[in-house]
Symmetry: C2
Subunit: 417 residues, 2 copies
């Protein structure tokens, strides 16, 4: 297990454009210390290459089952008849079902150290809220989750899961905050949005000195914590004397893609020939958007970040892989994309292709990927099929960021099971 997180800011070919304030309105930059833990804010701007993981966080990682296995997909290779070697990282072994715990455990532990008693956050698909609820419970903090009502209302099982960890869960907009109450006055059944949920989480934390707000993607410190995935994977490849030619994962905001790819991108920026593909949805192909300053949230509460974006007000078709439906890509990954290190593929929003590919994977390998991870699987299989045509013996590494046990409805609907 790695003892340090890897910070690619030390190795970037050019400096990362910093966050900035919009031309008008109150300063978002000055509000940042209220939005982020002190240690996370420090990590956000750090250019140290290796950031030590505190022993207590290493213990939490071990308890959450780290290091996680890297599997060779031998049966899948055989079924495809590809000369490629395919390896997948098992982030689906996470207690809550996704890679989100890697940063949740770190943030919860830092929050405890900084004297907070309660964490607040927003959640969309629900993976982040669950991970933070787990992490808070393990370190002895309370959590309050504001969950986009349109999702909250039909994911009863995931809601129960968060409550099982002891979290307080509110459909957002909620009567708990001023923002929420005002919206509910206009529409008592307001479906909510990620932006509104962010606003509620922030308002709640700001009104309580013992509470702090936590974020689960996009930002540098989140990707930093997630590098345990890629660092472990790199070590596992070394142990078997292999090295990937192709590194693949799905990308929404960028936390799992970044966590998996950044330690390999470190080699690429030093000149190693290595290809990276982000698997996305045509619903939100943010890496095919514009590289410019934009808000990270719908409600314009965050500073502006330089990133590939579809525009923070963009309407995006609902998909089963809801964790991929975000307008912008993490600034670190956006810079690397602008420099030509990261390719992207966007799959049709009907998701027939990705779920069919996931089914091929399941029938050969047995494990059930989350809808988001199905994009990673689809891209890996597509590349293995290309190797079959060209005869290339590539080594393909892909990350399966979560399992689909709580998302079977998506498979049923798309594949007509």
């Amino acid at each position: 297990m790695p003892t340090h997180w890897y910070n690619i800011q030390a190795d970037l070919p050019e400096p990362l454009p910093p966050p900035k304030d919009p031309p008008t309105g109150p300063s978002r930059l000055k509000a940042l210390p209220e939005m982020l833990l002190t240690e996370c804010l420090r990590q956000e701007a750090s250019t140290e290459r290796w950031i030590p993981i505190p022993q207590e966080i290493l213990d939490l990682y071990a308890q959450a089952g780290r290091p996680r296995p890297l599997f060779r997909a031998r049966r899948l290779e055989k079924a495809l008849g590809t000369p490629a070697k395919m390896y997948y990282k098992a982030e689906f072994y996470s207690p809550t079902g996704s890679h989100k715990v890697n940063t949740a455990l770190a943030q919860a532990w830092y929050a405890k150290q900084e004297g907070y008693e309660r964490l607040t956050t927003e959640t969309g698909a629900g993976q982040w809220g669950t991970a933070l609820a787990d992490a808070a419970s393990l370190v002895g903090l309370r959590t309050t989750v504001y969950w986009v009502r349109a999702v909250h209302d039909w994911k009863a099982d995931r809601r129960a899961f968060m409550k099982l960890y002891g979290a307080e869960v509110h459909a957002s907009p909620s009567p708990e905050t001023k923002v929420g109450r005002e919206l509910l006055k206009r529409d008592a059944k307001h479906p909510g949005s990620l932006g509104i949920a962010v606003s509620e989480g922030l308002e709640d934390a700001r009104a309580d000195d013992r509470a702090i707000y936590c974020l689960g993607s996009v930002l540098n410190h989140v990707l930093l914590h997630q590098t345990v995935i890629g660092l472990e994977t790199k070590r596992q490849f070394e142990l078997i004397g292999e090295s990937p030619d192709l590194v693949i994962s799905c990308l929404g905001g960028g936390s799992n893609f970044g966590g998996f790819a950044l330690p390999f991108l470190a080699d690429a920026v030093k000149g190693k020939e290595l290809r990276f593909i982000a698997a996305q949805s045509e619903s939100a192909p943010n890496l095919q958007g514009e590289y410019r300053y934009d808000f990270a949230d719908h409600a314009e509460l965050t500073p502006m970040l330089k990133m590939y974006t579809l525009g923070h007000k963009k309407e995006m078709t609902p998909i089963k892989g809801d964790g991929l439906r975000y307008h912008g890509a993490a600034p670190l990954l956006s810079l690397l994309r602008s420099l030509g290190y990261i390719d992207t593929v966007a799959y049709p929003a009907d998701e027939k292709h990705v779920f069919s590919r996931a089914r091929q994977f399941i029938r050969s390998e047995g494990f059930l990927p989350a809808p988001e991870s199905a994009y990673s699987v689809a891209c890996a299989i597509d590349e293995a099929e290309k190797c079959k045509e060209t005869g290339e013996k590539k080594t393909i590494a892909f990350n399966i960021s979560g399992h689909g046990f709580m998302d079977m409805g998506g498979y049923s609907e798309v594949l007509g099971l």
Copy 2:
């Protein structure tokens, strides 16, 4: 990873009473070769101590994530304030969510070797059907699952999961078999039973030379395959220089309890001081029943087995931990119980105690046990609490046979989430 399964028949203090025919009716013993794979039938009666695991099955085990971790429950110990050391085995890392894959992979591989093209089986809670569907898919066989209609109809997600593996799934009684058609004629919405589903699976396999029926619990060869759990655990304890004083798991038919405990029972029958507790439900406390010959199924199609039984026609209150609702305990475990090696505890059928204990575990350890495994957790915590009272520094080993991601409804209902 163990290279051999452990067969306790070599070390039993007295021979295992063999299966026998009932006083009247056709011979069930003569029908056994139609019900079981040739290799499984051989293993059923074997008294060899160590049975080699074929390399291909070892490969399948590795692909299913074996060996699985043994976790120390440090945070739980601390939360309880117990002087006991608590260790849990992570069978919940199984691709299908339960320990059932350990025998499913073996049986599917043997079936392929013996020239079959299709497996048939029954399933109640659904774990066994899913495991066999997975295993069949991996070795390239088809599966037909007869699923008790009363469960089939509300477990849409698990049904989709089986189909994702390529299984054909029928609500039982079904129009596919003579038995099924006759029952449906009487009641078109017949809720079915495990006994009826067994009959359908058998009839289907008997009518097709290329098909064979597979069983997921109770029998010697099933427990044999499951000993990989206990053998790994024993080795893991050796590696850390520890040894359990108390071995705990839940028990329905006995496949997970046997798999976990038998390698440790080997030491107990040689005189080592070691206590075993089977965690059961008051709905089906079969180890508190009578030790006598009884049928393994409701419909009296199987030979009679000498076992602790509540009677094969016993009505049992429905519980969320449905995998524990079986009238008899595996003959191997029943013999060892009759000789005083295995204790049992039965928890109230309202399941409030077991689910509350599982919630304590989740809040300290993060992982989500299946409803059945919640019994194992409850028993381990109860014993750790006793150690707190007495000050005893016992080492407690317990098995978590599966995860609860597809059973959250049980938690919600019992705990009112």
